[in-house]
Amino acid sequence: MPKDINRNDVQRLVANGAQLVEVLPADEYSEAHLPNAINIPLKKLDQQSVKPLDLARPVITYCHDFQ
């Protein structure tokens, strides 16, 4: 079950190798995103689009805010 985390957790997990995924549309990602985040829009999230991700490392999803 996915767990909700805050920004301190994000910083700690990323420092330990977690992968950041912004799930907003590409144009919103292009404007501004967290450092080293990759973009996989929710509507395109499937087996093919997740190939850049490492299955062995934790993943953190985020969007704009509490949407």
């Binding site: 920004r7 994000v10 997990l13 292009s30 404007e31 501004a32 450092p35 996989i40 953190i60 999803t61």
Partner: protein, 178 residues
Amino acid sequence: MSSRAAWRLESLGFSPVYRYAAGKRDWFAFGLPMEGEFASIPKAIDVVRREVPTCHLKDRVGEVYKRCQEVGWQVCLVVNKANIVLGRLRREAWQADPEAPVEQVMENGPTTFRPDNFLEPLIKRMREKKVGTVIITDSDGVLIGILYRKDGEGRLQRDQPTDEIEGSHASRNQNGDS
């Protein structure tokens, strides 16, 4: 949206999966790094002055005034132990009884802005409201510093493209000639 994405990733075999629920709005409002097209746009955090005088609710006005005078400030921000902004002392406050506690004379809940606010619209708003300084806090209300309008104007002036400056000179010259 990020919740559904997290569940979908889990269904695709990823574990553990986390959701940063507050998202990038929270991240940037906290003054943390940004990548992307907006990263190079000047923001409040680029010109904020961090060394600002602060005091606590129970401090005495006279003692706070003395401390501010020593460092050349007319304004003092009232914070709690967590450095969260509770109030502001302006020039008028210095006329109060020196023995009065700060909380009796402070301006309660002054307006604050976030470090990721774009500088240009913020400075425009400050000009319109005839405001010389604004307080910058993170999204939790923790003090970051004070932004001076003149600092922001200076930064925007420096960032103005050369051709734009030349264009405006040309325009002025043209007007002068006509």
